[in-house]
């Protein structure tokens, strides 16, 4: 049994006679033998006792005549209309009130009007036919025929006793004649299929024959059709997807998509509801596959493709549940059985096929030797270049680390000390290694100005290694020429003007000199003015492997301290700034560099 309506509303007046009918509650049958027994469940409120519920017909009637004092006895806001909220329960067996909390119930909201019913002359005729607000009923598809609504307004039937009121229903153009009117009740005459139409738009016609004439009034009614799982899942077009896995081997990556369609709806609420849930099973006993691969399932509601009736589109993707080794090489077909658990028929399943090819990834340098040239003026932490095995930028889930070693181990200790000149740094999860100037002192010695290294790339999971020769040549005028006082290397970011910036030797400056970037914008801009060791890498809104070694190299990218002035920041550094941005050991300012504010009369000129 189910109620074809969420709630019932009706207005009642002072003077409503004892025994008079107020409204009729209906319940739809799920099986031919069912019979509804109705009961009034609201014993909480004092006014509940004013009403009587007919167990068999569901007709709510008055136990007493409503008096003026009844209206004032209701504790509610000071208003001309007070709401009386009742609850009606239904059961397929006769019952007592006590089990009400365990029954399906429907709300009955009666608007008790602090006045007597309008006289026949005063009343608006249409209100004899229809209430002000017409709520829309619902029936479940494929169910028994039956009455779902009483069209007469019991509380208004005696206002004009000499008038005769009758009803008719006109179905919408393309909809079957599933509905008719029998003794003032709207009846569904045959099971309906939601997948054909989710809602029936009925035009109710009410005819009132007065002493002089016949009046007609119209009201539209939308009967919503509730869904049940009466459709199996199906595929449209291909049930096979070819998948190639190569460089992207990280856990969580998804590949390919197969679509499964279902004309039924799939409710997402309440979350534990199992209606129309598709459950999938990997059709393999291969433990490697079961440990490595899962199928990701998502679904969404669609209307257009199902003839403007809500249905469900399911998406299935192949997903890695762990990182794949670079050596893994494998081809297989993976079948996945999708089962509509609540569909009664045998055809409630579809089989998906994923043709999977996994290619190995070589860890390899295509060139034997790589050459880098660096100015002798370069200061410590200047970036020389980056080293990376083939295709490394495409890698995901492949962790390769890089190491720098002296090519010829047998050279003298003195010669070995030259090799302090160059270092290699790599941030976790970064794909390349970055070469940088590690020590400028040794570069004063001519024999240290061409260095041969070996770069070893090691893939962490299987410890595969690849090697390449690296030659770093330092050229140009050395630091010996620069005046002693200029030898000191300072953080470029401290400089606030072009002149002092370009005149200083900055930490991490490949040319030895800091570089000035002049901003042009008025407000807060990504192109703020600033002094940088290398405008190619700083500021670039990324705190790279070298910059993160020392906050003084590029605080514009790496500082996490509060910034004073107008700025924008993502996680670190200064994404945008106002005027000139400059920093002192990580604390940064962004401000316009106008002339100093008019001289504040500071301490010297105190009386």
């Amino acid at each position: 049994l189910y109620f074809p309506q969420r709630a019932y509303t009706e207005s009642i007046y002072v003077g409503q006679l004892q025994g008079s009918q107020v409204l009729q509650v209906h319940s739809m049958r799920e099986t031919p033998t069912e019979r509804p027994y109705f009961t009034l469940c609201s014993h909480r409120d004092t006014y509940a006792s004013w009403f009587h519920m007919d167990e068999a017909t569901g007709v709510l009637s008055m136990n007493k005549t409503l008096e003026w004092s009844d209206f004032s006895s209701i504790r509610d806001l000071v208003r001309p209309v007070k709401d009386l909220n009742l609850k009606v329960g239904v059961s397929s067996v006769p019952m007592q009130k006590a089990i009400c909390p365990f029954l399906p119930t429907v709300e009955v909201k009666l608007m008790f009007i602090n006045d007597t019913a309008p006289s026949c002359g005063q009343v608006e005729l249409k209100t004899l036919c229809f209430p002000d607000k017409v709520s829309n009923p619902h029936i479940t598809e494929n169910r028994m025929p039956g009455a779902l609504r009483q069209l007469r307004r019991f509380t208004h039937m005696n206002i004009c006793p000499n008038y005769t009121i009758s009803y008719a229903v006109e179905a919408g153009t393309n909809q079957t004649q599933a509905f008719c009117i029998l003794q003032y009740e709207l009846v569904v005459t045959a099971p309906v299929d939601r997948e054909e139409s989710e809602v029936y738009h009925l035009d109710l016609v009410c005819m009132i024959r007065t002493e002089e004439k016949l009046e007609k009034f119209f009201s539209s009614l939308h009967v919503n059709i509730y869904d049940e799982d009466d459709n199996p899942p199906y595929m449209n077009g291909t049930d096979t997807e070819d998948i190639k896995i190569e460089f992207n081997r990280s856990e969580g990556t998804v590949y390919g998509t197969l679509f499964v369609y279902d004309r039924d709806t799939t409710p997402v609420y309440p979350t534990d509801l199992i209606q129309n849930k598709l459950v999938g099973t990997l059709m393999t006993n291969d433990s490697w596959i079961r440990n490595t691969i899962t199928i990701e399932h998502k679904f969404r509601e669609e209307k257009a493709i199902f003839g403007n009736v809500r249905g469900t589109v399911h998406e299935y993707k192949l997903k890695l549940s762990q990182n794949l080794s670079v050596t893994e090489r494998r081809s297989f077909q993976l079948d996945y059985l999708v089962n509509d658990t609540t569909f009664p028929g045998p055809e409630g399943t579809v089989l998906l096929h994923f043709n999977v090819t996994i290619l190995p990834v070589p860890i390899h340098f295509s060139n034997i030797t790589y050459f880098f040239t660096v100015s002798l003026k370069a200061t410590t932490y200047s970036q020389i270049g980056s080293v990376c095995v083939d295709n490394c930028l495409k890698f995901k889930g492949i962790d390769v680390t890089y190491q720098l070693e002296i090519a010829d181990r047998n050279i003298s200790a003195d010669a070995q000390s030259c090799y302090w000149a160059v270092g290699l740094a790599q941030k976790p999860n970064e794909k390349a290694g970055v070469l940088y100037v590690n020590d400028t002192e040794v570069l004063r010695r001519p024999q240290c100005q061409e260095l041969q290294y070996v770069v070893i790339a090691e893939e962490q999971q299987n410890k595969f290694q690849a090697m390449m020769q690296l030659v770093v040549i330092f050229e140009g005028e050395g630091n010996t020429v620069i005046r002693l006082d200029e030898q000191r290397v300072l953080p470029c970011a401290e400089k606030r003007q072009r002149g002092e910036c370009e005149a200083s030797r900055g930490l991490g400056a490949p040319t030895g000199r800091c570089q000035w970037r002049q901003g042009r914008d008025k407000g807060i801009s990504k192109k703020y003015s600033t002094c940088s060791p290398d405008l190619g890498t700083c500021p670039d809104a990324y705190c790279d492997a070298i910059e993160s070694k020392n906050i003084s190299i590029c605080p514009q990218d790496c500082s996490s301290q509060p910034i004073i002035g107008g700025y924008e920041r993502d996680l670190y550094g200064i994404k945008a700034g106002h005027g000139t941005c400059y920093c002192f050991s990580g604390k940064c300012f962004c401000e316009k560099d106008e002339l100093e504010v008019f001289p504040i009369c500071d301490d010297v000129c105190k009386p």
Partner: protein, 107 residues
């Protein structure tokens, strides 16, 4: 530090300022109530200040140094308040520690 007098010697004053005029490059027509500290802190001075005044008066300090000397405690905020507003692109912005919550003679 020296005894504190948060009175005429050092107190909070308020000024309406358009965000645009705060000089920080934010493009917003909103107005904020900027609270700042005003006070000479003369009453909070100590022996140190008297000696320092004498030193400054005898002109033996170079001007560059003299300009960087505070000859009395300074009236400064003891705490700050953030100010939030929407800029011209209706993005919420917050300037931390902008306005003075309270003032005191410091140092």
């Amino acid at each position: 530090s020296r005894g504190r007098h948060s009175s005429r010697d050092c107190h909070v004053e308020k000024r309406e300022m358009r965000v645009r005029d705060l000089g920080m490059g934010f493009d917003s027509d909103e107005i904020v109530l900027f609270k700042f500290c005003v006070g000479s802190c003369q009453r909070s001075r100590g022996n140190y200040d008297l000696a320092l005044r004498a030193l400054l008066a005898n002109g033996s300090l170079p001007k560059r140094t003299a300009r960087k000397v505070s000859a009395h405690p300074c009236c400064r905020p003891t705490g700050y308040e953030p100010v939030s507003f929407m800029d011209a692109t209706t993005t919420w912005r917050t300037i931390k520690s902008l306005s003075a919550a309270d003032c005191e003679c410091m140092g």
